[in-house]
């Protein structure tokens, strides 16, 4: 009887012990750090390559090692938040040279559309991140289940329009070579931009901002600030703060608490300096 009791006792204890001590349990408890560490190692490797303290072969070995560890994270819980965030990282970093980025994007845009973690993808698709970013943000606006993801993607699309406007104006002023736009925005978008012109693009930018204000004003960005007021600021800038426009008045008080207005200085050339002592 005694050995049987002992066995029964062990059988009762075993699952609890296993859950506490398996490597999987530990990995889950530390999930955000695991991915953060991989990302940090990858950016350190890129810096080391740039500084020539790491050669191409060492860099390639590091890439393969990190890709292996990323794949392991994807295997553990393929539809969990960590896997979604890992897929976003592999897709946007181009870590997987063998399979490329597309399979990861395809997964994100089919199976992961309900994940709130897609907000991280929005951040990665900022202006300057490649010619495909705009189309991908468009997919998120149309298909992401989370309203916050759709709102942040809409706001990022507006950022793209803002950047395109700057560059188009630069071309017009002769500061930017037209060829530079091809690399940044891709041939298809450059053709569309030629069609739109500065005025058309500005209308597109304003429409995107207005949509952010109307539909997604209370959505929070990556830093936890509502995106509505910032879009309103951008609208104000384009409608009231362009070169050649009459400067809007500022009413306030100085550091000593004395009220004054910007228009008190009409008749003088004003150097208006938004500053801080930090």
């Amino acid at each position: 009887m005694k050995p049987a009791l002992l066995l029964a006792f062990l059988a009762l204890c075993a699952p609890a012990q296993a859950a506490m001590s398996t490597p999987l349990g530990l990995v889950q408890a530390q999930q955000p750090d695991v991915l953060g560490e991989l990302r940090a190692q990858w950016s350190a490797a890129a810096q080391a390559l740039h500084a020539q303290s790491m050669d191409d072969r060492e860099y390639e070995a590091k890439r393969a090692e990190l890709l292996g560890r990323a794949r392991a994270l994807l295997r553990d819980d393929p539809r969990g938040e960590l896997a979604v965030r890992t897929r976003i990282w592999v897709a946007t970093s181009g870590l997987d040279r063998e399979r490329g980025r597309e399979p990861y994007y395809e997964d994100l845009f089919t199976k992961d559309l309900a994940s709130p973690a897609l907000g991280e993808l929005v951040e990665a698709l900022r202006p300057g991140s490649g010619p495909d970013a705009r189309a991908r943000l468009g997919t998120l606006v149309a298909k992401a289940a989370e309203r916050s993801v759709r709102g942040r993607a809409m706001q990022m699309l507006a950022e793209h329009s803002r950047r395109e406007l700057e560059r188009l104006r630069g071309v017009r002023a002769g500061d930017v070579k037209p060829e530079a736009l091809l690399g940044e925005f891709g041939a298809a978008r450059v053709a569309a931009l030629e069609e739109l012109g500065v005025d058309g693009l500005e209308r597109e930018y304003v429409a995107a901002l207005e949509r952010v204000v109307k539909e997604f004003g209370d959505v929070l960005d990556a830093r936890g600030r509502a995106i509505g007021p910032r879009a309103e600021g951008a609208l104000f800038e384009i409608q009231r703060l362009q070169i050649g426009m009459l400067a809007p008045d500022i009413e306030g008080e100085d550091i000593q608490g004395v009220p004054f207005k910007l228009s008190d200085y009409r008749g003088k050339v004003i150097f208006l300096d938004f500053w801080g002592h930090w």
């Binding site: 400067a247 550091i255 050339v269 300096d273």
Partner: protein, 104 residues
């Protein structure tokens, strides 16, 4: 930045020129001390103690410093010019202001 601003203010004393700041520091009392220590004589709006204050939010300022140069008639003429370009911008607008008042 302060030495350049100080020299502009000193060089252009007596000209129709003014440097106006919009300050986004957190601590107003500490800032008053800074004004004395750094010999900051020009006037600044208080932005409510935050980079997210009312004036910088309305003017859509997201990087610091952000600079506007406004002509004597109140029109925005330059944005984010620095160094020699800033000096040249101010000189140009002062010249325009002189020509205008001289022509009248």
């Amino acid at each position: 930045m302060y030495p350049h601003e100080r020299s502009l203010v000193e060089k252009l004393a007596g000209e129709p020129f003014v440097l106006i700041g919009v300050n986004s520091d957190k601590d107003r009392e500490a800032l008053k001390q800074t004004l004395v220590e750094e010999r900051i004589t020009w006037r600044s709006f208080w932005n409510g103690g935050s980079t997210g204050g009312p004036i910088s939010t309305r003017w859509n300022v997201s990087s610091w410093p952000t600079i506007y140069v406004i002509d004597a008639e109140g029109r925005i003429r330059f944005k984010n010019v620095r160094g020699e370009k800033l000096d040249a911008a101010i000189d140009q607008l002062l010249r325009e202001a002189r020509e205008q008042s001289g022509g009248k």
